[in-house]
């Protein structure tokens, strides 16, 4: 019985480890998604304010 309990906890520990890895990937993914959104926003704001880039896009000043 003691061995079975030990095995169960070993099994559970590995599952928890794998879930922790999964959570780490999800967290990193979310952080990168936020970074991408912020960069896209900065890019849009930067382009809007830059007369040269507006000219490149063919927009009237």
């Amino acid at each position: 019985m003691k061995n079975l309990t030990l095995l169960f906890f070993a099994y559970l520990m590995i599952w928890i480890g794998l879930f922790a890895y999964l959570l780490f990937l999800i967290q990193r993914g979310l952080a990168l998604s936020r970074e991408i959104a912020a960069l896209k926003q900065a890019l849009a704001a930067g382009n809007k304010g830059d007369p040269e880039k507006r000219k490149d896009r063919g927009e009237t000043p």
């Binding site: 095995l7 990937l25 990168l32 991408i36």
Partner: protein, 224 residues
């Protein structure tokens, strides 16, 4: 990539499958007569090995596709699958040693299946080291694709080593069938399905991460 809903659904199914699998391994399945309780590690060890092989097969396919198309997507898929494959194969080596100690009386022995599997592990650790090394990305991706394809040749060797070279490792699946009592077979199948789900989820997340990193890099170059 549409991840949100699909991944949440997979994660919930995975959680339920994990609980069912734990119940089956520790409550439902009978204890094996000769090996005793330690045999239950088999329901963990075999699915881990299956996922390792599946991951390395994906690395091989991704390598072939990368060399044909030179697409970053295939390269990213190869890297992601290799990382997960190495993680799972490390767990295969650990759980195998835990099983071997009470059954063979030693943590490790130079037996054909163990040796070929260790070689496989080294090949894909090498693959990851190559990816992490500094240098030209294009060249690294090309080299990694070749290592991924050539490395996969070891998988059939691992599989057939116990059958052809008569090693110590037990052979479960033979031409005559699985050689397991129905409750044991069902427990193994549920465990296999659970780990396959985990693999799918991990691979999707890891691939997304790899591609998102690229997007961040390219956006950083554009931002004034």
């Amino acid at each position: 990539m549409a991840r949100g809903f699909d991944d949440r659904a997979i994660a919930w199914i995975l959680l339920v499958a994990m609980v069912v699998s734990l119940y089956m391994v520790f409550m439902y399945v009978p204890t094996e007569r000769e090996m005793g309780i330690i045999q239950r590690i088999f329901y963990f060890h075999v699915p881990l090995a299956w996922i390792s092989f599946l991951a390395f097969l994906m690395v091989c396919i991704a390598g072939i596709q990368y060399l044909r198309q030179r697409s970053r997507w295939w390269d990213a898929l190869g890297t992601s699958a290799a990382e997960i494959g190495v993680l799972f194969s490390t767990l295969v080596l650990i759980t195998g040693s835990i099983w071997a100690k009470p059954i063979w009386g030693t943590w490790w022995t130079w037996e054909p299946r163990l040796v070929t599997f260790l070689i496989l592990w080294f090949i894909y650790v090498g693959y990851l080291l190559l990816r992490a090394a500094a240098g030209d990305d294009e060249r690294k991706a090309r080299l990694a694709a070749v290592v991924g394809i050539v490395g996969f040749l070891d998988v059939p060797l691992v599989f057939f080593s116990a059958r052809l070279l008569r090693g110590l490792s037990p052979v479960v699946f033979t031409r005559q069938g699985a050689g397991l009592a129905p409750p044991m077979l069902w427990t193994l199948l549920v465990s296999l399905a659970t780990f396959t789900l985990l693999f799918v989820l991990l691979l999707r997340q890891r691939l997304f991460l790899e591609l998102a990193r690229d997007e961040v890099e390219s956006l950083k170059e554009l931002v004034p």
